[in-house]
Symmetry: C2
Subunit: 224 residues, 2 copies
Amino acid sequence: MPELDVKQKVLAANQAAAAALRRTFRDQRTLVVNLISSPGSGKTTLLEATVARMKDRYRLGGLDGDIATERDADRLRKAGIPARQILTGGACHLDARQVDTALAEEGETLRGLDILFIENVGNLICPTSYDLGEDFKVVLLSTAEGDDKPFKYPAIFARSKVAVLTKVDLLPHVDFDVAAVRAQVATLNPGARFVELSARTGEGMEAWCALLAEELREKRSKAV
Amino acid sequence: MPELDVKQKVLAANQAAAAALRRTFRDQRTLVVNLISSPGSGKTTLLEATVARMKDRYRLGGLDGDIATERDADRLRKAGIPARQILTGGACHLDARQVDTALAEEGETLRGLDILFIENVGNLICPTSYDLGEDFKVVLLSTAEGDDKPFKYPAIFARSKVAVLTKVDLLPHVDFDVAAVRAQVATLNPGARFVELSARTGEGMEAWCALLAEELREKRSKAV
């Protein structure tokens, strides 16, 4: 099976690059969060709202993966933090080498941050297998996407430390059973944190930002 | 570049299988529509509403690609048409061999249909390159996903004969510029048809069903 061999080799090379990144992030005492969701679940909008709440107290930065356009990194820069777009040239996920190259090319602005947000390519499947040296993955699901998604895309929900339900302001206008989604996530990943929020109205944003601050404190308390 | 070689070989093998499927569908006078979108854009909900409007006059059937669960094929069967689930074993798209195998295993119920709907795995990227022997691709985008998506995922919009904007009933509750999306689609694919609809309220469903009926007539008028 030559196709499988190649996939194994690609993943092994990625793992080595991710391990090196993880050492770098540990030395720089930076918390790294890898955000994964379908296109349009609201990753960039959540980050804009997060930046507005946290940028005065924390040094934040972003890496934005996309097939095409510089739009997401532009939005984060407008929100007031350094950000760099990674164009994947058609690939359906970021890999650790791309992250390493982007950080090297960007230089000082993304070094020694408190929190680095990596916004992956919009895709619930491909990014799951590619470690980027992050502290943890966050999977986002919007209330407009239907309440059957965790069981339909189980791997990413099983591997994400945090599941964020976005766009809860739309709940009155869609058929969506929040309890059913909570139950699916709990089945796939009993230790996962579950956050419900709307970046548009601000509901739930405080809990999300508190979670990030707590994870940063915890990482730094371990890295003595 | 062994990785690229393998990809080329996989795509060439898929193209051969797709060509054979296309001959079969031509002989059976079946219109085949390959529906592609992010998870949660409303492919299955659109098909349920389409079936309710068309099943009395047309022989319809469905193939549903997913990573996990039989849920989508179940929903189409409950809507009243034969349907078969294809579980891709983690792969982020359907391929022509999977379609061929599923049709062979299903036997009579999906043979000689008027229209066969193939609901691809929820993913705006990977399914783009895999021809399934379809007459045309339909890309779906929901009003909850943001109005920047065609330029961010250009390949699938460039290759789809029809772009469907779903969930227009949510327009009063989201920030979404329909004209901007129309303009992006027209830039990427000047010949594309653009349909706006809500499967939930029924708005736009008549135009969508008329388009399918017209495509079926046109295919059959050519295949003399």
